[in-house]
């Protein structure tokens, strides 16, 4: 049966893999931005491992068929091939599940991409626990820790579709290879495009200043963290919020500013609390001798449960209500 026939025979409410992109503006931003860069004459090419519908690269493939390579389910080959492509001045964007890209291809990334300083941009999508009930094999709560330990590799977790687009644009002139960690493309909007006009990798964004404490969030946790601090502000509890979209190089200045602003620091990440955002912030605070109390909130060195993503976010207190609760545990006199 052809796709057209198949579409005719199903009700409008049903959906297939081919409709996924309509539900994922974050992933649409990926292909749209790559198409724009290609139109501008940037030497971009894109690769994926049999996931062009899952990450939306199908839209890039349609517009730039000669610059798209589907490498099938052979991720290690894909990363090394991207490195080979990059030796000639091309800028390959490699998109695959975050559970596979930095874990299965760890050594190819280290040796062929990061060590060789080739301009490859790795995009680990569906990071964290966004693949909920697909199971632990599809969860990625280690990717930040793994990639952050590789010298010469920039690590960033853009917050929403607008920032993903800004970050990909910024990457076109960035000297190092990059690991981008993104979700499933359904992350709620945080920024208007013009708010990100001055976007810089490595430069954190202060979304709110507060004297009772500061939350440092990254990627998917920025929006719920913002909702949480805004809710608390209604009660007169003045908590700041930093969007730490780049994990490496980390914006130490912003962290130390937060340490000086009063109250504790709370890091919030959809990742193991070991080695990711919380680890990076702890290192900055300890190196500077800052005595600020730090609470690392995230997945507490365990394998995450199976369940629908929204249920998992509630379970791990990574939704707005959960983050608000954790903030209140850290700020004496507040209640949630």
């Amino acid at each position: 049966m052809s796709t057209a026939q198949s579409n005719q025979e199903r009700s409008q409410a049903s959906w297939t893999l081919l409709d996924l992109l309509d539900q994922a503006p974050g992933l649409k931003a990926l292909s749209d931005t790559l198409n724009e860069l290609a139109d501008e004459g940037r030497p971009v090419v894109a690769l994926t491992g049999d996931l062009k519908y899952s990450n939306g690269l199908v839209k890039f493939a349609e517009k730039n068929p000669d610059r798209f390579f589907n490498m099938g389910i052979s991720e290690q080959n894909m990363v090394s091939a991207a490195a080979g492509l990059a030796t000639t001045g091309l800028m390959p964007f490699v998109a695959d599940f975050a559970s596979f890209l930095p874990l299965l291809c760890c050594e190819q990334i280290r040796t062929d991409v990061a060590y060789s300083q080739l301009p490859v941009r790795l995009i680990g999508h569906h990071a964290g626990i966004t693949l909920g009930f697909y199971g632990t094999s599809h969860h990625a709560t280690e990717d930040l820790a793994i990639t952050r330990s590789m010298a010469g590799l920039t690590v960033a977790a853009p917050t929403d579709p607008a920032m993903l687009s800004a970050a990909i644009r910024a990457s076109a002139d960035w000297p190092e290879p990059i690991y981008f960690r993104i979700g499933r493309g359904r992350e709620p909007k945080v920024y208007e495009e013009d708010e990100l006009a001055g976007f810089e990798l490595g430069k954190a964004i202060w979304l709110r200043r507060g004297s009772a404490g500061t939350v440092i969030a990254t990627g998917s946790t920025v929006k719920p963290a913002r909702d949480a601090v805004e809710r608390l502000a209604e009660d007169g509890i003045d908590v700041g919020l930093i969007d730490m979209h780049t994990i490496k190089p980390i914006d130490a200045e912003a962290i130390l500013e937060a340490a000086g602003a009063g109250g504790p620091i709370l890091t919030v990440e959809e990742h193991n609390v070991l080695g990711g955002l919380g680890g990076a912030v702890a290192e900055v605070l300890a190196d500077a001798g800052a005595g600020t109390r730090l609470r690392r909130h995230g997945i507490q060195d365990e394998y995450s449960l199976i369940g629908p993503p929204t249920h998992l976010y509630a379970h791990y207190r990574l939704n707005a209500a959960g983050i608000e609760e954790v903030i209140c545990e850290e700020i004496p006199g507040s209640t949630s």
Binding site: D66, S80, A81, A83, A86, T88
Partner: protein
């Protein structure tokens, strides 16, 4: 399957390449005497292949290691890089004084080839199994950039154990990367013993054929057979089928007391044995 090789190599070229293979073996001995440990035997098994590629088949420009249209060479079995460095020096890619400080503190030349440090090394190696994928990437880039060059990838026979090699094999055929020419140095030995005892790889030619490659077999020490074959593969018009040459070789070739001796995968020759080895090399390996 491409046409059989009909071209014969003229005597002058054959003698030159045979002399270059000897030069490579002598240099391997000299350089390893600086490091005081090295992979003599793995380098000796591919000396004729390196000589044929670098002194006849590959399209290169003296002193221009980054020439965009050059043929690429990837060393999957990167531990034999000591056979490549003297050749890169002859091409004017690395200075002689750098070569003479092989492996000394801060020198760019290590046991494995490093593209970030060594002009003329087209891709770093050291972790077995990545090179064919990198060669594929370069071939695809040639297509995107509108450049015609070959990606030669030398693989070890032990390297055939790596899963990524077969991912790349499948991928090269699928993407019609006919500019990828793999050469397997079938010297029959890996570290722990004979490849076919440690992790068997036969029927090797059938495997590559089944993956959609144009498969050739040749005596990897016979310059007169090897060179015309590589020339023919390199000069195919718009090739769509990647080619692989299974080069049957002898590990340690040229120094009889090293040949097919497991221990000589890694080692060091004292002065007296070094002299004996060099004599054997001058005699063309006759015991």
């Amino acid at each position: 399957m491409s046409a059989p090789v009909t071209e014969a190599l003229d005597d002058t070229t054959a003698e030159l390449l045979e002399e270059k293979a000897k030069f490579i073996r002598r240099e391997v001995i000299r350089l390893i005497s600086i490091a005081k440990v090295g992979h003599y035997a793995s380098a000796f098994s591919c000396a004729e292949i390196i000589a044929a590629l670098y002194y006849d088949v590959m399209n290169l420009r003296e002193g221009e290691p980054d020439w965009p249209d050059r043929d690429r060479f990837m060393f999957g079995k990167g531990h034999a890089a000591v056979a490549q460095y003297p050749v890169l020096a002859e091409w004017g890619f690395i200075p002689e004084d750098v070569l003479n400080e092989y492996t000394r503190l801060g020198n760019p030349l290590g046991d494995h080839p490093d593209m970030t440090r060594v002009p003329g090394v087209d891709f770093s190696s050291g972790s077995i199994g990545h090179a064919l994928s990198a060669g594929l990437g370069m071939a695809l880039a040639g297509r995107v950039n509108g450049r015609e060059y070959n990606s030669f990838v030398m693989l070890g026979d032990g390297e055939q154990n790596e899963g990524q090699v077969w991912e790349a094999a499948m991928s090269c055929a699928h993407h019609k990367a006919g500019r990828v020419i793999a050469i397997i140095d079938r010297n029959r030995y890996c570290l722990d013993g004979e490849v076919d005892e440690v992790m068997g790889i036969e029927p090797l030619a059938d495997k590559w054929r089944a993956f959609g490659w144009d498969v050739h077999e040749v005596d990897g020490h016979d310059i007169r057979a090897l060179t015309p074959l590589l020339r023919q593969l390199a000069r195919r018009e718009d090739p769509e089928v990647p080619a692989v040459v299974i080069a049957h070789t002898v590990k340690g070739k040229g120094v009889p007391f090293m040949e097919q001796e497991i221990g000589w995968h890694l080692g060091w020759l004292n002065e007296e044995d070094e002299r004996r080895a060099l004599e054997y090399i001058e005699q063309g390996g006759a015991a």
